[in-house]
């Protein structure tokens, strides 16, 4: 136990030194279960992961020869979505080459602000070839280029009380991850895929990559990050209220 904490602390300290971040702390609370036995099981699994596994192990990275065909599911073009307001907004942004796309970063941060894609590209980039694993059972290998989420959080000055990062998209998805996954070196805001700009079906111009969890957590068309002190289930649009596990590290 002591060993794990020491190793985790060392890893996070290393990361903090690189990103100038305050030490990350493990979550203090478990997601609510609303009396549902299945959600209690989810919490047992999540807690076991956080207690038994080192928090920042890197997922396996592959080579270019391993890249595979890649299905796009869920929303594959917000301009075609039923929500005409979001569809019009997305179409207008797309016509302008996403130059006016804004990622808003707010919540428990010292300097809330927005980033354009060009501003995100000015931050140090990371390219990784990883396995996307869908909860349905399929998998695909893709190359992702983007800025580590930790660097973005560093740029806005994440407060010491922060424990979770909530995120949402133009097509109205909302989800969240804990700080251990948010500060994971392979958790990136990707604007490139397979050496090109991120294509529309895969989330243009910006998507999240949470490599330590199933694909559903890596939402596309990302436009908002909210740093949270307390767990937030995302309301009626969130995974728990819709009968899904919140943590998808399994």
């Amino acid at each position: 136990m002591t060993k794990i904490i020491t190793r985790r602390t060392a890893l996070i300290a290393g990361l903090a030194a690189a990103g100038g971040l305050a030490l990350a702390r493990a979550p203090r609370q478990l997601p609510p279960t609303y009396g549902n036995l299945l959600r209690m099981g989810d919490d047992i699994t999540y807690a076991a992961h956080r207690v038994l596994l080192p928090g920042q192990s890197l997922v396996k990275e592959y080579s270019k020869a391993d890249l595979t065909s890649f299905p796009a599911i869920g929303t594959t073009n917000p301009a075609d979505s039923g929500d005409s307001f979001a569809a019009d907004e997305y179409r207008a942004l797309q016509q302008n080459g996403f130059r006016d796309w804004q990622l808003s970063v707010e919540g428990s941060v010292a300097k809330p602000r927005t980033f354009t894609i060009a501003e995100l590209k000015q931050l140090p980039a990371r390219t990784q070839i990883t396995r996307h694993t869908c909860e349905e059972g399929w998998s695909a290998i893709g190359q992702w280029t983007g800025v580590p989420l930790s660097l973005v959080l560093d740029a806005v000055g994440i407060l010491p009380t922060a424990r979770f990062v909530s995120y949402s998209s133009i097509d109205d998805w909302i989800d969240s991850i804990d700080l251990l996954d948010a500060l994971h070196p392979q958790t990136i805001l990707a604007y490139g895929m397979n050496g090109r700009d991120l294509p529309v079906p895969h989330g243009a111009p910006l998507r999240l990559r949470v490599e330590t969890q199933l694909g559903a957590k890596s939402i596309k068309y990302l436009n908002r990050l909210v740093v949270l002190d307390e767990f937030d289930d995302g309301g009626p649009r969130g995974s728990i209220r819709n009968g899904w596990a919140w943590d998808m590290g399994i």
Binding site: S57, R131, T133, G249
Partner: protein, 250 residues
């Protein structure tokens, strides 16, 4: 109850038998429902609808309706990997099925751990379950098989009467199949595979682990079916009495 009757099965064996039966049954059902969401099996690291399958099972009510649009090569090589957008979402009940599966996986691991421990300490595993490697000659196994089919009066319930093939079957389930199911299951978890990368190496990748997990299920299902047939053949009521209240009528 004038005279104490001999117990066919020890109480802890009877309790673990039914706890195990409940978890195996629930894992069968929930695992099958999970597979229905993507009833294709692959070998290696990646596999999806845009790649050839090793085996496609006709177990989804509407998988044939899944269709794809905007298929496009992801690189300059037109014969290389492609991206395509899914236009029909097939049956998917993974919200409850996945969480139920993992909840009962915990249950299974706890029951089997208790069974191993108590079985080792009490000598039950050594004297009644483990066949002994020296007895495992083809001639012995053949003789046991022939005996089993020629038997007029089946042996009474209880571990003292277990035949050689019976012991081999029980040992395979307890020492090989269930541990392999747990390990291949863990391999499919992104966060666990990150922390324990040897899992991916041992099983040859995520999709290989998934296919082996299915093969393990098929073998366990075969075991359960043969087990039930043998119980019926040797006297269903007598066997049920022995495995519940523990009574033995000779």
């Amino acid at each position: 109850m004038s005279e104490p009757r001999q117990q066919a099965h020890a109480r802890w064996v009877r309790v673990t038998h039914w706890l195990l039966a409940v978890s195996i049954f629930t894992l069968f059902v929930s695992g099958f429902v999970i597979l229905m969401a993507h009833p294709r099996l692959y070998w290696g690291v990646a596999g999806n609808d845009l790649m050839p399958a090793l085996l496609e099972l006709p177990i989804s009510p509407d998988y044939a309706k899944v269709s794809w649009a905007d298929s496009a090569p992801m690189f300059d090589d037109a014969s290389g990997p492609v991206s395509a957008s899914r236009t029909y979402d097939a049956f998917n009940q993974n919200g409850w099925a996945r969480s139920l599966h993992f909840l009962f996986a915990w249950w299974l691991v706890l029951v089997v751990a208790f069974y191993w421990l108590t079985g080792a300490v009490s000598g039950h595993l050594h004297s009644h379950i483990w066949p002994g490697l020296r007895r495992l000659s083809p001639q012995q196994l053949w003789r046991d098989l022939v005996d089993r089919f020629q038997q007029r009066a089946p042996a009474p319930p209880g571990p003292h009467h277990y035949g050689l093939l019976q012991k081999v079957a029980y040992s395979m389930v307890i020492f090989v199949l269930i541990p392999l199911q747990v390990l291949t299951g863990l391999t499919m978890s992104p966060r666990i595979a990150a922390a324990l990368p040897w899992l991916l190496q041992v099983f040859g990748g995520f999709q290989s682990a998934r296919t082996l997990h299915f093969a393990g299920f098929a073998l366990l299902l075969l075991f359960v079916l043969v087990h039930i047939i043998m119980v019926i053949r040797s006297g269903l009521l007598r066997q049920l009495r022995a495995m519940t209240i523990g009574e033995r009528h000779d």
